[in-house]
Symmetry: C2
Subunit: 260 residues, 2 copies
Amino acid sequence: MCELLALNFNQSVAPDISFRAFRRRGEGNPDGWGLAFYADESAQVFKEPICVERSGLSDFLRNYPFVQSQIVIGHVRLATAGNVCRRNTHPFTREHSGREYVFAHNGTLQGEYRNELPLGRFRPIGDTDSEHAFCSVLDQICARGADGWTPEDFEWLHDVFQRVNSFGHFNCLFSDGRHLFAYHDKDGYNGLHYLRREAPFGTIHLVDEDFTVQITEEHTTEKGYVLATRKLTDEHWVSFQPGQLAIFKDGEMVWSRGGI
Amino acid sequence: MCELLALNFNQSVAPDISFRAFRRRGEGNPDGWGLAFYADESAQVFKEPICVERSGLSDFLRNYPFVQSQIVIGHVRLATAGNVCRRNTHPFTREHSGREYVFAHNGTLQGEYRNELPLGRFRPIGDTDSEHAFCSVLDQICARGADGWTPEDFEWLHDVFQRVNSFGHFNCLFSDGRHLFAYHDKDGYNGLHYLRREAPFGTIHLVDEDFTVQITEEHTTEKGYVLATRKLTDEHWVSFQPGQLAIFKDGEMVWSRGGI
């Protein structure tokens, strides 16, 4: 089914708790994993076409102090379109106007999407529906000159995502390094949830394993959102509405539209 | 001064010996390190704006079995243009025509290069002379439609690199995932060397530390080239000629031009 993970905070944070929980989702999604974060305006992407739980690299990164970012995007893959190989593993990245864009998708597009979502200057390296959609969306952003991201551009992007969604199941995470865009499938396929996390944190219990953590005092100035396909912890997770696009920046939800 | 490392082999190889030796070059180049390899048509790039010898990630990767590739490009940085940050760290990557290009540069461009090497669709994320040159070269490749890489395209690329070189010191490594292109500065700045490695390997001694290695029999089918700014081992390294462009593919030098 694939699963998605994202973070957006008011300051650079280590995604250690979320990534620990997310690695458990490799069970059922053994065909690849990826983690992207913005060290600055540039994105570091780690990805491999193997199960995240069996990856020595993902284990190493769990506690690596240089994985710190305001924006993090993760993905675990169950291959539905495209072979199991690195080039078909999410997240995908492209530069446009000196900004590095990151994209991850959950769902499968079908039918005439390759003709109806034409490509321009951005071309897929692999052969997934996901990377095709990413390239097509970026071409449309390029054509509109939407990289300044006004509220009108947000409305427009919502329409673009809804059109992609008309070709199949489509949950996606998308970023330009400043905003985190999260879109939930119009039919509510597979779920997408968010969690507001800020002090006082209380005790957090992971739902996939018997593990409890108390976020320490040094993190009390951190506040923001964690997003995941299914909730990762026993905190107060909120379901996205079907068809909803929510946009996060500096740890706040700055725009939301759609849903019921 | 920055230093460069590259490998091109007839089959996927682990760059463990070369990377071990290359990590020692962090001394004198403490401002960043990067390692790119092609897992398939897509390139995995690891890079950090810290000294390679102090990087836990680079230490982890030394023996990580999934770092395997026919083409590897590495760089250690002494910042001469642009701040010390990840976006200014080499290698840089861009997608063009569904191919992922990787670029690393040693040297500094000066004068009117930003006006004389204009940018088009590819824009720098950071502010180095190197990424500017990479984007400009890719724009020219894009305009020529040179991605099929005929011998005429190789000649043309040699001219393109020589023109970049006219603005300062310029050693570069460049790849589209099939070819490894290596260009040596017209004035011989800082050096660039290559080594043919094939069985029988004999005993290899690293020049930066008291370390000797015997490549085992399981590697006897591996043959190809290792490139480095300065020789890494006591093997038979050959100096590039000033102004030489050499092109490697599947472990063979398939084209070379320039020099005295």
